[in-house]
Symmetry: none
DNA sequence: CATGAATGAGTATTCATTCAT
DNA sequence: GATGAATGAATACTCATTCAT
């Protein structure tokens, strides 16, 4: 289902690709998506040409960065033991997504936007998370731990909103916890 | 104490300034702050020179747009009857800010950012709102309607986050109400 | 020979014109000919419209400034008693032009350029000076005070060059005198 | 001690850089420093981007042009045999500078201005010339060939002034010689 | 007539992307 | 494949000049 046929990719090329992805993640996070591609290439220790060989477009690079992040989140979300403790699993997943997205609101937005206009690769990885989230949401609602009237769209909107709220609190860990308390308690019935 | 003396401003000039402000609000909202200044000027039916005569910088234009919006919100917030019903006043103010900011997340972010790095004019109008909000928050907390451990920073973060969440729900009024329910209930003690 | 027919010009208009000319002279001298016309208008206490009513073009203003200056020089040059002391008259005229042009090399250049492409008004006033200079040069040469092989073009070139040299010495009066000594002595035979 | 390490520079890049420098020299000389950068790029047969890659600023390009010229002059000035004939060496150097600067007064002005506000690179190359000139001046004065009261500033002012004078004579070789005669003789004692 | 607001062509500089080395 | 030089469209801002008030 992954679209293009992947060639084996030479060792050094693979190393460059990975370095580029790591660097881009850092740089985009630190300075925003407005940074010139040259800066990313330089930080990764390669020429721009190499960057554009691996990612035909700046947008493609951004997408790849997001996909990687979403895949990591999806992998973690898959671990959550839904059966034994449905409520905890849902709330843990919520926190997980918010915390992993912290500092990169643009990525969180991408998750939400995926349902609307994102590219194939993004679609795929965010769909995985959405599916997992839907599953956990239903479980938690069945267990009576989450308001039954809430649908997946509202939960995702709250996810993105909470991420944004967190960004505005910066390093204030106690404040972040208080915000989590508000949102997570708010999700509960009553 | 407002610095430069405001000249009466000729009728046509005032008209152009207002048109520019309206147009900029629309265009920035619709296409983001990245739109070329020329496009705004064209949409307002004036030459670029006129735009730059009124707002010496693109940033200045953006600031003016935000200020106008914030002032409108501040004016409405000033109406809320805090004495008779402290809890309602606070929740109404929260909704007010979120709803007025809807569709223009960048402006909401500005509100929060104002506490950090925004320019003087922005500072002033956003400070007014912050002050009003702080006042209402305290009243509501005294009345036992809001968690006592919450500080203004967290409330503002939630405000911005809720605005973001709303943007992701688009036109879905029912969904928006459900999100409001989550956040407002979450703000309540316990 | 003065081209356009001069209307009497209302009192305030005349005052504005004069103020503009004075201001432009100062401002051009102090900040170069690159200053925006608005700045000159503001400094003169009038609107740009008024400036452009009196001088249809920035270039026209510049020309008027130069003409005034040249006319003043011409008037002074006319005083020099050529008959009684031909040598002194020539050298005095040389100094006069250099000193009056000091600080405004562009004006001195205008004098020289007049022979080539300048406008009518400039032509006229610079021609007057050139004629006077030619006359004094001839007298001084007849009196054996100036190298006989020098023509007017060389003398004018030296005039402009000396002005430039002076500008590079700034306020150093003693240095300026030493430069004058070099040039004036150099003009003498042998 | 020269700051950044110079990379070897690829063949085509070097060619473009040289072409740009040559073209800029011509175009600036012919049409003044006001010419649009695009025109220079076009004349050099490259895109604007290339121009700005080599010279990050229009000013930087101008500076590079001047430096090259000054370095050429400095190289030639270094050849002059000061010991055997101090007087000739000084006068030859004076002519050399004037002739090499001919047609580009702005560059000559830069030489003098360098003592005041020019950037490091300009400083360096013009300092070399100034030092050489000072040395030759002293030698010539010791040999009794130049007025002893003249300092380096006056000599430089005369240099720049003479260059200006030459520019006003254009192609008239005989006139130029007569002007040289005036200035060089004027530099001699008495 | 004076005013200053409006105009828009013109300019330096950036940056995603292509292509010769 | 990797490199980084070349490209040129795009963009914010300026300023001489015109014209409505």
């Amino acid at each position: 289902m992954s679209g293009a046929q992947e060639r084996p990719l030479r060792a050094d090329a693979a190393r460059n690709r990975a370095k580029l992805l790591d660097t881009a993640t850092q740089v985009f996070t630190a300075h925003g998506v407005g940074v010139p591609t040259e800066e990313i290439a330089r930080a990764a220790g390669v020429g721009v040409g190499t960057l554009f060989r691996h990612f035909p477009t700046k947008e493609a690079l951004l997408e790849a960065v997001m996909v990687r992040r979403l895949e990591a989140i999806a992998a973690q979300a898959a671990q959550l033991p839904a059966e034994s403790a449905p409520a905890e699993a849902f709330f843990d997943c919520f926190r997980l997504v918010v915390e992993q997205s912290a500092g990169k609101n643009e990525f969180a937005q991408a998750l939400a936007a995926a349902g609307v206009d994102a590219h194939a690769a993004l679609q795929e990885s965010s769909s995985t998370i959405r599916a997992r989230l839907a599953e956990l949401l239903t479980g938690a609602q069945r267990a009576g731990a989450v308001r039954p009237e809430l649908g997946l769209p509202e939960v995702i909107a709250l996810l993105v909103g909470t991420t944004t709220a967190m960004e505005h609190l910066g390093k204030d860990a106690a404040g972040r916890e208080r915000v989590f308390a508000v949102v997570l308690d708010g999700l509960r019935p009553r």
